[in-house]
């Protein structure tokens, strides 16, 4: 398909073979033709065209001139509402632009819409959004599969070529898992590499902005543009951002690849392990060495995450109270009643569940047993990686324990849904970067993904490894 990569499209725009306005019209048609996917919460044709006309007048040197991007509806955007997939923010119009999206605008990109997501980024299926489910474009005839979550709308939009890239956020796997389910590249950078300013907060010590793209080259370009220090974010890292795209290199000779034994789990279908082994063999063919490593606390990662993330979320979501912005319940006899009804009507089931868990684990008498304990185990998990990276350059694992499942499946038991994140959560707890690269296919010919993890601020290594993997994924 034409206009399926950022690198190619940039060339075409710069050579004036097509105007930004004309390009946008192509993507507008694609979006309208694929309304059934429900990838977007907000889509406004006139605004896109108006913006495109402005961008046409801008400097050709802009790194993303005219490139259509979908923005996960967790990023506050000035010209489009920001809902976080929730009723409680369904009418919220920020008067400010998030740091990351401003950077993308500065480089001339065109935002084609706000992408659907699980409510407040809490989910692995994009089935908890107030604005309905997003459907995985890879769904076979007659079936509706989840795109994964929470950044399911972004992943689906990129996979269906409704845009050339998208932003997402990843707290426990919310970029990597949907990337794997939809068959696109999805990257979560090191914690602190990208600013969280202007992103609706879910779990502050875990949230990171990241990107989706159709290729490693495109991913490298986008990653470079969103990364960078922000003095308004006290957890932002003061570090020099390499030119990931220029530095791309497929040579994996001599690289040592860690394969953690704890990621081999009973009950995971064979196809996952097969794809994992195929990737290992492919790297070996390229001259890399495989090292069996141990990340001994892996099995404690999910419980640790499901204490820490809800705890932080319960506090971060306290501001949604109907006072300053957003939805307010009509019944309001007293302040407390207003709070209770607003929040009960405004939040969905999963969000409420997590707020309750989070409140419980922080409450008097339970803090030490749950939250403090989880913080300690988190340290052990992070140390596991630090020790492992002494012996290897990057780590290779499957991204997800299965192919995309059907919408409606796994709904009865929250824990079943949480298990989707089993391979992605450890890296989030340690704050290290991770990328999912589409690789192989399931027995039902659905996309699968391979996850690459590297040490802090070493995004280049896994982009390079992904570059190699991509080339050889035939």
């Amino acid at each position: 398909m034409e206009f399926s990569s950022i690198t190619e499209t940039l060339k075409t725009i710069r050579s004036k073979k097509i105007s930004v306005e004309e390009l946008s019209k192509i993507f507008i048609k694609r979006i309208k033709d694929n309304k059934n996917l429900n990838a977007f919460i907000y889509f406004n044709e006139e605004n896109i065209i108006e913006k495109s006309r402005e961008i046409d007048k801008l400097n050709n040197n802009l790194f993303l001139k005219g490139i259509p991007l979908a923005i996960k509806d967790l990023f506050c955007t000035k010209n489009m509402p920001t809902t976080a997939g929730s009723k409680i923010l369904s009418n919220f119009h920020p008067t400010y632009e998030s740091f990351v999206t401003q950077k993308l605008l500065n480089q001339g990109s065109v935002f084609v819409g706000k992408a659907n997501c699980d409510e407040f980024a809490m989910g692995s299926s994009t089935t908890t959004s107030f604005f309905g489910n997003t459907i995985n474009p890879a769904s076979p005839q007659g079936k509706q599969l989840v795109p994964g979550g929470s950044s399911g709308g972004s992943a689906a939009a990129v996979a269906a070529k409704l845009c050339l890239g998208a932003t997402g956020t990843d707290t426990g796997g919310s970029i990597r898992q949907p990337a794997s389910f939809c068959g696109v590249v999805g990257m979560k950078p090191t914690y602190g590499l990208c600013s969280r300013w202007g992103i609706v907060a879910f779990a502050s010590s875990l949230d990171q902005a990241g990107i989706f793209a159709n290729s490693i080259e495109d991913a490298s370009i986008l990653m470079k543009e969103i990364a960078g220090y922000d003095s308004n974010d006290s957890t932002s890292a003061k570090t020099i951002i390499p030119d990931y795209y220029k530095n791309l290199n497929r040579d994996v000779r001599g690289k040592i690849i860690g394969v953690p034994k704890e990621y081999t789990l009973p009950g995971i279908s064979d196809e996952i392990n097969t794809v994992w082994e195929d990737a290992i063999k492919l790297f070996e063919k390229g001259g890399a060495k495989i090292k069996k490593i141990s990340l001994p606390h892996t099995k404690y990662a999910l419980p640790t995450y499901y204490i820490i993330a809800p705890a932080e979320a319960s506090s971060n979501l306290a501001r949604y109270d109907g006072v300053k912005y957003g939805f307010r319940s009509n019944e309001k006899n007293s302040l407390d009643e207003m709070y209770e009804l607003t929040r009960s009507e405004g939040f969905g089931k999963e969000v409420k569940r997590r707020i309750l868990i989070g409140t419980y684990v922080l409450s008097a008498g339970y803090y030490d047993a749950y939250y403090l304990k989880a913080q300690k185990v988190r340290k052990l998990i992070a140390d596991d990686f630090t020790i492992a990276f002494k012996d290897c350059d990057f780590i290779l694992t499957p991204t997800t324990p299965s192919q995309a499942f059907q919408i409606g499946e796994k709904e009865e038991d929250p824990i079943k849904m949480y298990l989707n994140d089993i391979f992605t959560v450890p890296a989030s707890l340690a704050g290290i970067p991770g990328i999912s690269v589409p690789f192989g296919k399931s027995k039902e010919q659905l996309p699968l993904g391979i996850q690459l993890l590297s040490k802090h601020f070493d995004e280049q290594t896994i982009l390079n490894a992904g570059f190699y993997l991509e080339k050889n994924n035939e």
Binding site: H93, S234, S344, I357
Partner: protein
């Protein structure tokens, strides 16, 4: 850890959520399962481990004491569900 109805209601009050009668049982059960599941952490020996509250090893950044005296009240109030003459308006609080 068995979470009973009363505990669920107590926690709900703390975080200002109203749980309907018909929801309490299912919710209490789900919360109990989740808490049972996370109690797996008790298997881990963390006696001499420091809690990790920040993955960042940086120092707390400091800001200069320069005031921004711009009046942003229009922006601040523009999304307010109820306002009057530059105030946010909420149902009466009885002290």
């Amino acid at each position: 850890m068995k979470i009973d109805k009363n505990t669920t209601l107590k926690i709900a009050k703390l975080c200002r959520l109203r749980i309907e009668e018909q929801e309490t049982e299912e919710l209490s059960s789900q919360l109990s399962s989740i808490l049972d599941w996370v109690e797996k952490l008790n298997e881990v020996d963390t006696d001499n481990v420091e809690p990790l509250s920040n993955v960042s090893t940086a120092k707390l950044p400091l800001r200069k004491d320069e005031e921004n005296s711009e009046d942003k009240s229009k922006d601040i109030l523009t999304n307010a569900p109820e306002k009057l003459e530059n105030y946010f308006v909420v149902p009466k609080v009885v002290e």
